[in-house]
C-alpha cells in the first residue's frame, strides 16, 4: 500500500515535471552519460565538487530534496515540524530505509553525519552548523535540531550534496579520510556503486531495496570519462552517450547538438545553485570607486546581446543583486537596460577623464573570452578607455585575491537563500585578501551589513522579506558589482530519456525518477 505522503510526493513530482505526463514509466535499461572532469572520489560529504556531486548524488541522499521552486520536499525525512520561535526543527525519518549493505538507516546516522562527520570535514555544512546548538535523536526515527537563534535558510541546507547522510556503522570512530569504505561508497540512494575503472567509466547499478516502491526504473547508469570536449560532443552525436550534463560540451556546440533529431534540452535543474555571473568592480580606487561610473557600466553593457549571441539565448538578464531564483527577490526595481546615452551622461556628470580601466576576463574558455570582448567594446562605445588583460586561472585567482584589478568577470552560486549565497558578496566583514570568492569588490556599507545580518536570523519570513527589500534598493542604487547574467546551464539528452530533471539540483539526483522510453 502506498503511504498517503508518498502519493502527495508523486503528485508534487508530476506538477513540476514537464514531459510525458500521460506515459507510464517503463522499467529497465541503462543510461550512458558523462562526468567531467573525473571526480577525485565519490564520498559525498567528504568531497563537494561538481563532478562528485553529480555522480554520488545518486548514491547518497539528504534529509530533504527541493523542487525547482526551492520548496523542500521529503527525502530521508518523511516530514518535519518547526517550532513557533523558529529555533527547533524536528525531522521524522522514513522507517523502511536501509543502507546499501543492508543495515537500517536510523536517527543515529543523522546525528553522526551532522554532528561528527560534517563538523569535521565539510565547510559548507559547518557554516550552517554554527547556528545549531544541539542535535539529538529523540527516538530511532526522530531527530531534533535546536538552533542558537532563528536562521532563515536552515531548511534549505539539507540538500544531499551539502548535508549528506553517511553510515555511522562504517565511519564512527575511524579516520574518515582513510576509511576503507571510501573506495566503495555506501549510501541510501536509488543506485549502488558497482565499479570504477579509473579514466574510463564509473558504473552504478539499481538499488533493488530502494524505499520508494518501483523506483528507480533504470537498471543502471554509466558515467563515462572522456577528457576531450570535442570527443564528448561526438560521443553524444553518434549515440554512445544519452545524456550530456551541463558543462560537458562547449557552448558553441550546443546549438548544433540540440538541433539533432531526438535531442531535448532543458535549463532546469540548477535552481539550487543558480550560477550568477557578475563583473567585479573595484570599489576602492580608480574610476570604479565612483558609484556613477559603476552605474554607467551597467547602462553601457548590452546584456541582452550577450545572452542571445554568446549564450545562445539561454539564461536570464538579471535585475539586481538578487537573482530570480533567490528567495525574497524584489522585482519592482527599475532594470538597468542597455542605454549608452545614459551611460555617457553619467560619465560626464562624474567628470571621467579617460583614465585607463582594465578588464580581467574569466579564463574558462571561448565563451568567456568573447564575452569580455563584447563588454570591452560596449564600454569603449560610451567613451571608457578600457584595456583587456588576458590571464590564466592562477593569475586570475591571484589578482582578484590581491585586489589588483579594475573590472573582472566571475560567477558565483546563490544557494537559494540570500543568507547562504548572496550576502557574502556585499558584507564588509567578508573583505579579506587572498580569496577571489568573498567581498572582492571592497564594498562597505554599514546599513547593508546591518540589514543582511538582521535578515539572516529574523523570523518569520515576512520580517526577512522587508529587510531584504531595503537591502536590494540600496545595492541597486550603489551597484557594488555589475550584474551580468543568471547563467543558463543546459542539459542535453535523448528525448526518450524521460523525467530526467525533476528537482532543483537536476542531474545530481535525476536518475532516481528517470526512465527509458525505448
Amino acid at each position: 500500500m502506498k503511504h498517503p505522503l508518498a502519493l502527495a510526493i508523486s503528485a508534487a513530482a508530476l506538477a513540476f515535471t514537464t514531459t510525458a505526463l500521460a506515459d507510464a514509466p517503463q522499467q529497465g535499461g541503462t543510461v550512458n552519460t558523462i562526468v567531467q572532469p573525473e571526480p577525485p572520489g565519490l564520498v559525498l560529504g567528504m568531497i563537494q565538487n561538481a563532478p562528485t556531486r553529480v555522480v554520488a548524488g545518486n548514491i547518497y541522499e539528504g534529509l530533504l530534496r527541493y523542487t525547482t521552486d526551492l520548496e523542500p520536499i521529503p527525502q530521508l525525512a518523511e516530514s518535519w515540524d518547526v517550532s513557533d520561535d523558529g529555533r527547533t526543527y524536528t525531522f521524522h525519518l522514513r522507517e523502511n530505509v536501509t543502507w546499501h549493505d543492508g543495515e537500517p538507516f536510523t536517527a543515529d546516522d543523522v546525528v553522526f553525519s551532522a554532528d561528527v562527520f560534517h563538523r569535521e570535514l565539510n565547510p559548507s555544512a559547518r557554516a550552517v552548523l554554527q547556528h545549531v546548538e544541539s542535535i539529538e535523536a529523540t527516538d530511532e526515527h526522530t531527530v531534533v535540531f535546536t538552533l542558537i537563534e532563528p536562521f532563515g535558510p536552515f531548511l534549505l541546507s539539507f540538500e544531499a550534496g551539502t548535508f549528506t547522510m553517511v553510515p555511522e556503522h562504517l565511519y564512527a570512530g575511524t579516520d574518515f579520510r582513510n576509511n576503507e569504505h571510501n573506495d566503495h561508497p555506501i549510501g541510501t540512494g536509488p543506485f549502488k556503486f558497482a565499479n570504477w575503472e579509473r579514466g574510463t567509466v564509473i558504473e552504478l547499478v539499481k538499488n533493488d531495496d530502494y524505499y520508494e516502491e518501483g523506483l528507480p526504473y533504470l537498471d543502471g547508469v554509466n558515467w563515462h570519462i572522456i577528457p576531450d570536449g570535442g570527443s564528448r560532443a561526438v560521443a553524444f552525436e553518434n549515440g554512445t552517450i544519452d545524456v550530456l550534463p551541463s558543462g560537458t560540451v562547449e557552448n558553441f556546440d550546443i546549438p548544433r547538438l540540440s538541433e539533432m533529431d531526438n535531442v531535448c534540452v532543458t535549463e532546469e535543474g540548477h535552481e539550487y545553485f543558480s550560477p550568477y555571473s557578475m563583473l567585479w568592480m573595484n570599489n576602492r580606487e580608480g574610476p570604479t570607486a565612483d558609484k556613477r561610473f559603476r552605474q554607467a557600466v551597467m547602462y553601457a553593457m548590452d546584456r541582452e546581446f550577450a545572452r542571445n549571441v554568446l549564450w545562445n539565448g539561454l539564461g536570464k538578464v538579471p535585475l539586481s543583486a538578487f537573482g530570480s531564483n533567490a528567495r525574497f527577490q524584489d522585482d519592482s526595481l527599475e532594470p538597468y537596460d542597455y542605454n549608452p546615452e545614459r551611460a555617457r551622461e553619467l560619465l560626464e556628470e562624474m567628470g571621467y577623464d579617460g583614465e585607463e580601466v582594465t578588464i580581467l576576463p574569466l579564463p574558462y574558455g571561448e565563451t568567456w573570452t568573447r564575452w569580455a570582448e563584447a563588454v570591452q567594446q560596449n564600454l569603449r562605445e560610451v567613451g571608457i578607455n578600457v584595456r583587456t588583460q588576458a590571464t590564466d586561472v592562477g593569475g586570475w585567482n591571484q589578482r582578484l585575491g590581491d585586489w589588483d584589478y579594475d573590472l573582472a568577470f566571475t560567477y558565483l552560486y546563490q544557494y537559494g537563500d540570500p543568507a547562504l549565497g548572496i550576502s557574502r558578496t556585499y558584507l564588509s566583514d567578508n573583505i579579506a585578501k587572498g580569496s577571489p570568492w568573498n567581498n572582492v569588490e571592497g564594498y562597505e556599507n554599514a546599513r547593508v551589513d546591518e540589514l543582511f545580518n538582521e535578515a539572516a536570523t529574523a523570523y518569520p519570513d515576512e520580517e526577512r522579506e522587508a529587510l531584504y527589500k531595503e537591502v536590494q534598493e540600496i545595492l541597486h542604487e550603489d551597484v557594488p558589482v555589475g550584474w551580468l547574467m543568471e547563467l543558463g546551464f543546459p542539459t542535453l539528452y535523448r528525448c526518450d530519456v524521460k523525467d530526467l530533471v525533476n528537482s532543483s539540483v537536476g542531474l545530481n539526483e535525476g536518475f532516481r525518477d528517470a526512465w527509458l522510453d525505448r
Partner: protein
C-alpha cells in the same frame, strides 16, 4: 643590369612584391575604409559572405565585420612582423659581428650563448615568454625577437669570419682604423645582402609565429589580428567556414609573398650565387 631588373627577372618575386604591396595598401587603407573599430558588433552574427551589402566577407560569431577585421589585421600582422624582425636584427647582428670578428674565447662564449637559445624549440619558448610577460603587442614582439635572433647571429658570424682576413680589412687595420670602425664601416656593409634576404624571410616567420600565438589565445586581447580571427573561429568551423578561411588565406598570401620577395632579393643581391633559371 640594374638591381630592379635583376629582381624582376625572377617572375615569382615580382608576383610576391605585388601581393605584398596590396597587403601594405590594405593595412594603410584600413582606417579609411573601416573607420570604426573592427571589434564593433555591427550586424547579426554568422552572416555568410556576400549575403548583405557592406559585409563582403560576412560577420563573425559576434556580428563583427570580417572584412574590417581582415584589413585592420593586416596592419597588426605587418607591424609585428617588421618590428620583431628589427629587434631580432638588433640583437643578432652585433652578437654575430663581435663573435665572428674577434674569434677565440669571445666567439666561444657568444656562440654557446646562441646555441642555448637555438636548442629550445622556437615556438615553445615564445609561448612561455608570452605567458610569463602577459600577452600584449610588446611582449609578443619581444618574444618573437628573442626566439628568432640566433640564425641572424650565426649568419653574420660566418660572414665576418670569411671577410675579416680579406685584404681591404688588412689595409684598414694598417692605416690604424679601430676595430669598431672596421666592423661598422668595412665589413658590415659587405654582409648586408644576406642579412636583407634573411630578414625578409624572418618577417614571414614572425607573422606566422604571431598568428600561432594568437590562435592559441596568447595574442594581445586588444588588437584584432589574423591569428586571433582564426583562433576564435576554430570552434565554429563546422558552422561558419568563412571566419577562418579568409584570414587563413591572408596569412598564406602574406607569407608566400614575403618568401618570394626574399628569393628575388637573393637573386638581385647575389647575381653570381643565384641559381640558373
Amino acid at each position: 643590369m640594374s638591381f630592379f631588373a635583376r629582381f624582376a627577372q625572377n617572375r615569382g618575386a615580382l608576383v610576391g612584391l605585388i601581393i605584398l604591396l596590396m597587403i601594405i595598401a590594405m593595412a594603410i587603407l584600413a582606417p579609411l575604409l573601416f573607420p570604426e573599430s573592427p571589434w564593433r558588433m555591427v550586424q547579426r552574427p554568422f552572416l555568410p559572405p556576400l549575403s548583405q551589402d557592406g559585409f563582403p566577407l560576412g560577420t563573425d560569431t559576434m556580428g563583427r565585420n570580417v572584412a574590417a577585421g581582415l584589413m585592420h589585421g593586416a596592419w597588426v600582422s605587418l607591424l609585428i612582423g617588421l618590428v620583431s624582425t628589427s629587434v631580432a636584427l638588433l640583437i643578432g647582428v652585433p652578437l654575430g659581428a663581435i663573435a665572428g670578428y674577434y674569434g677565440g674565447l669571445i666567439d666561444d662564449i657568444l656562440m654557446r650563448f646562441t646555441e642555448f637559445f637555438q636548442t629550445i624549440p622556437n615556438f615553445a619558448l615564445a609561448i612561455v615568454l608570452v605567458a610569463i610577460m602577459q600577452p600584449s603587442v610588446t611582449s609578443i614582439v619581444l618574444a618573437i625577437a628573442l626566439v628568432s635572433w640566433p640564425p641572424v647571429a650565426r649568419l653574420v658570424r660566418a660572414e665576418f669570419m670569411s671577410l675579416r682576413n680579406r685584404e681591404y680589412v688588412e689595409a684598414a687595420r694598417l692605416v690604424g682604423q679601430t676595430n669598431t670602425t672596421i666592423i661598422l664601416r668595412q665589413i658590415l656593409p659587405n654582409t648586408l645582402s644576406p642579412i636583407i634576404v634573411l630578414a625578409s624571410l624572418m618577417v614571414a616567420t614572425a607573422i606566422l609565429l604571431e598568428s600561432s600565438l594568437s590562435f592559441l589565445g596568447l595574442g594581445d586581447p586588444n588588437v584584432m589580428s589574423w591569428g586571433y580571427m582564426i583562433g576564435a573561429a576554430r570552434t565554429v568551423i563546422r558552422q561558419a567556414w568563412w571566419l577562418s578561411f579568409f584570414p587563413g588565406v591572408a596569412i598564406l598570401l602574406t607569407v608566400l609573398a614575403l618568401n618570394l620577395v626574399g628569393e628575388g632579393l637573393d637573386d638581385a643581391l647575389n647575381p653570381k650565387l643565384s641559381r640558373e633559371r
